[in-house]
């Protein structure tokens, strides 16, 4: 072992020390090939951290009572010591903004720098979902714009009026995202070109005989012509922004603001396990390397490992503190396991992951980080080893059965099933009810019909009626929500208006 000349020995931090730690960690991160935005590290107080937390971690956010509610609940827990304040917060922007709390020890600061400034940061910059959906260069400016715009609206139209719109938009926030990137609009020439091609193609398909011999009923034709929107739309806020008949322009702009922010937050909701796992894997790897180089002391390491262990703790299902699967624990375990599969593959690994067993671990992890979200990441990489380590098991809860059934456990027969079911558990598409804009009665009462497409007979929670009131507030005319069963029949209909 090399001579130990630690950067620091006490637990106090200074700005010079932070700079030295950051420089060393940055050097190691570069050696491992982590590609990051430049970092902006901000030292703040615990109260400022609570403020930041209360607004979804965004550095700037418009005012709303629900953020006040969040603040009060964080404050309550924090003051009673029920919750250590999350000691890191990082913002997906360019430069990447990370907060350090002044109360932290130097060890914690180093951990947060490694975790946030090099872990999360590289994830934000390279994961495909973030690349597709968030403009890191523009987000802070946009938030400032949004805040100012909404303040202006409050001054002009009154706080309560604006609050009403915001409440309604927040209720639909999860339904205000594009899941797929819409193609950019075509230029006029391309459009004309394509239109011509389409025309020729359609012409070639026309079966004159069919068309002239079987008359279409006028009612049916009318129905077809009037159909609006032509395709069901799953981005409810987008549809409302573009089509709600009675909204004032400023109200549309507010809908748009909430939608844009929802879109910005969307990749995070999809990558909790990956993102936290990646950051945790890297703080672990980077700080261990610091230790190997003799740059940190044994005391530093002990404190670090204690915190690290707490972060990745996974209580079992029957434990009082159990609150679902800890994304830090699962993500960290999976990335570590991936590295193990690359470096020390077992027979089982060669069989399950023939293409990565024994490969270069840095390349393999980099590829995994870039190209997946939680659902697909688990479907692709959850190994029997991790399933066994976590003692995962699946419970089938069918309301038509008297009892619950253990449908798979961590054994040979269950690995694939567990992997599949766990992946499904992170599929937002199945976690959230599938609700789309179905039609608008454009000629009649302008009523809006939403459809809920049911899977596994799962009903909507009672809150749906309340949400519908919010939709009605935005749409201005009757709003209907039809639940459609698996056989395509409408089983239930809420109406508001």
């Amino acid at each position: 072992m090399s001579e130990r000349t630690p950067l620091s020995t006490g637990s106090e931090w200074t700005f010079e020390l932070l700079e030295r730690y950051d420089a060393e960690i940055a050097r190691l991160a570069a050696e491992f090939g982590l590609d990051t935005y430049p970092n902006q590290i901000e030292v703040i107080s615990s109260e400022q951290m609570m403020d930041a937390y209360a607004s979804c971690g965004l550095p700037v956010y418009y005012h709303h009572w629900s953020f006040g509610k969040q603040f009060l609940s964080i404050e309550k827990h924090y003051k009673r010591g029920q919750m250590g304040l999350a000691y890191e917060l990082v913002i997906n922007s360019n430069p990447c903004i990370a907060y350090l709390m002044e109360e932290n020890t130097v060890t914690m600061q180093a951990l947060v720098i490694a975790h946030a400034c090099y872990g999360h940061n590289s994830f934000f910059k390279n994961n495909y979902l973030f690349r597709t959906f968030t403009a890191a260069d523009a987000i802070v400016d946009y938030l400032v714009f949004a805040k100012n715009y909404i303040t202006e609206c409050e001054e002009r139209y009154g706080e309560e009026t604006v609050e009403e719109i915001l409440d309604a938009c927040h209720a639909l926030m999860n339904y205000g995202v594009d899941r797929y990137r819409k193609p950019p609009p075509l230029s006029l020439r391309e459009e004309q070109q394509r239109q011509k091609e389409r025309e020729a193609y359609l012409q070639s398909q026309v079966n004159d005989l069919w068309r002239f011999t079987v008359p279409e009923s006028p009612r049916r034709r009318e129905f077809r012509e009037e159909r609006f929107p032509p395709e069901p739309e799953e981005n409810l806020l987008y549809f409302i922004e573009k089509n709600a008949p009675l909204l004032e322009p400023w109200q549309r702009e507010i809908v748009r603001i909430v939608r844009k922010i929802a879109q910005y937050l969307y990749p995070q909701r999809h990558t909790k396990v990956m993102n936290e796992g990646w950051a945790t894997f890297w703080h672990y790897t980077l700080l261990n390397r610091l230790y190997d180089e003799g740059l940190v002391s044994d005391g530093f390491m002990l404190e670090f490992l204690e915190t690290h262990t707490a972060v990745i703790a996974q209580p079992p299902f029957d434990h009082d503190f159990y609150n679902g699967i800890n994304p830090y624990a699962l993500g960290f375990a999976m990335f570590r396991d991936l590295r193990r599969i690359c470096e020390h593959p077992s027979e089982e690994d060669r069989c399950w992951f023939p293409e990565i067993a024994g490969s270069d671990w840095l390349e393999t992890l980099d590829f995994a980080m870039r190209n997946f979200k939680d659902e697909s990441f688990i479907a692709q990489y959850l190994s029997p080893r991790v399933i066994r380590d976590f003692h995962l098991f699946a419970v089938l809860d069918d309301d038509q059965e008297e009892e619950l059934e253990i449908s798979a456990i961590h054994d040979e027969a269950g690995y694939r099933a567990i992997r599949e079911k766990l992946a499904e558990q992170y599929n937002l598409g199945s976690l959230e009810p599938d609700i789309q804009v179905w039609s608008v009665d454009t000629r009649g009462d302008r009523s809006l019909t939403l459809r809920h497409f049911q899977h596994n007979r799962r009903p909507l929670a009672d809150s749906a009626e309340e949400v519908l009131k919010h939709v009605h507030r935005l749409w201005g005319f009757t709003v209907r929500l039809e639940t459609v069963g698996e056989r395509g029949r409408v089983k239930r209909c809420y109406e508001c208006g």
């Binding site: 430049p38 901000e42 109260e47 619950l404 059934e405 253990i406």
Partner: protein, 420 residues
């Protein structure tokens, strides 16, 4: 490559606005919580905020989500004994949710949070429907007193300190003319020498002219200059706090039910708030009476069920004795508040008036009598009216509901303005 920035001096409480919005939105529920809290709270406990509970359904932010039912499969960690195909009974509490519900954003726990003391008071006053005027006066900080603090170079004419100013002027004149006087002395000595030597007239003349010039120059130094002026300086220091004692007198005869006691309590609470803001130390003495009076603790004062006939003077006698024994009037500011429904043993009301006139009012800063919910003001009220005519620091009001508590208070505050 990284930039490290110290933001600790940036404003905190960025969420203050959001917090206000939240309080505003749930005003109704919070007012109720505060109102309930007042009933259960001790009069002297005004230093803390209050825990407020709001039912979860009121502040839920609804979103589309799955309800219980249907078919679902969930993967959990930590299996010990289960094997595939095991069937287990559904846990209590619906479709196998247990505490996992909160994980799905469906938790229905009530929302509990803490109001700060100021927020508590704001809601408390609002509940009493006080106008803003009183709120601001109640919310005032400790009064300041201006005290002499040496002398300063600027100030206003009334504060001019003549002796100091002249002394400065004198010093300045000495300083500015010292060289010239020295020279003058030398010249005069020279002149005397010349005269003694019978020097030529021309030399003497020149010397005399020079002496004359010097004298004029010395005289040209102003006798007093604005630079010399000194003013008495005064600075503001927190007013030395004194102590106050507040007597709470309450009739507990059978007709004083819990509602009336609660009205009285609000009144006492306001009085206590006022006193504790003005005095560093505030004592409270609780006296309850029916036919006989007794000093009790707060719990017994407001919640005891003991009852009997009514002899109001017994309470006044006890108060007088306590003042004599424990609260020498040179050390204590004494306030008293009495709550009663005005129902007294007829012959006793005169005693009360006499006691107040002769033995109590001379020692008191203020006496406030509130008569609660009495449709036919009788004996006691009439006698007390006589007291009020004689003593400007005696106020009386009838109270029917919380909103009525305020007028008595206004009297109290107006009084304060005259007294000090």
């Amino acid at each position: 490559m990284s930039q490290i920035i110290d933001r600790r001096l940036n404003p905190k409480h960025k969420s203050a606005v959001n917090r206000q919005r939240f309080l505003k939105r749930f005003r109704r529920q919070i007012r109720k919580a505060v109102s309930d809290a007042v009933d259960g709270r001790s009069v002297t406990d005004t230093d803390s905020g209050e825990r407020v509970t709001i039912p979860a359904k009121d502040l839920s932010e609804p979103v589309f989500q799955h309800g219980p039912g249907g078919r679902r499969e969930i993967v959990h960690p930590g299996n010990r004994d289960f094997v595939t195909g095991d069937r287990i009974p559904r846990p209590e509490g619906g479709a196998g949710r247990g505490n996992r519900a909160s994980n799905q954003g469906e938790g229905m726990d009530d929302f509990v949070f803490e109001l700060s003391r100021d927020e508590f008071l704001e809601f408390f006053f609002e509940d009493l429907e006080l106008p803003d005027l009183v709120k601001t006066r109640l919310a005032q900080e400790v009064a300041h007193q201006s005290v002499p603090a040496g002398f300063s170079k600027d100030g206003i004419p009334p504060n001019l300190h003549v002796i100091r100013s002249l002394r400065e002027a004198h010093a300045r004149r000495i300083a500015l003319t010292a060289g010239k006087r020295r020279r003058l002395r030398e010249l005069e000595a020279e002149l005397a020498a010349l005269k003694a030597e019978d020097a030529p007239e021309r030399d003497i003349e020149a010397l005399a002219q020079e002496i004359d010039l010097l004298k004029r120059r010395i005289a040209a130094v102003p006798f007093i200059d604005t630079l010399d002026l000194r003013y008495r300086n005064r600075i503001q220091i927190p007013k030395p706090t004194t102590q106050a004692v507040m007597f709470c007198l309450m009739d507990v005869s059978g007709s004083m039910d819990q509602y009336k006691k609660n009205l009285a309590k609000r009144f006492f609470l306001l009085l206590y708030l006022f006193l504790s803001r003005n005095y560093e130390r505030t004592d409270v003495v609780f006296i309850r009476h029916h036919t006989i009076a007794k000093e009790v603790d707060e719990e017994e004062f407001f919640y005891s069920r003991e009852t009997g006939g009514t002899v109001v003077s017994s309470a006044l006698v006890l108060m007088r004795d306590i003042i004599r024994a424990r609260y020498p009037t040179q050390d204590w500011n004494i306030y008293a508040a009495q709550a009663s429904d005005g129902d007294n043993w007829p012959e006793d009301s005169g005693n009360c008036r006499r006691l107040l006139d002769e033995e109590i009012m001379p020692w008191l800063q203020y006496y406030a009598y509130v008569e609660i919910d009495n449709d036919y003001p009788l004996g006691l009220w009439q006698e007390y009216e006589k007291v009020a005519q004689r003593w400007p620091n005696f106020a009386m009001q009838a109270i029917d509901s919380p909103a009525d508590i305020y007028p008595v208070f206004r009297e109290l505050f107006r009084k304060k303005g005259i007294d000090r």
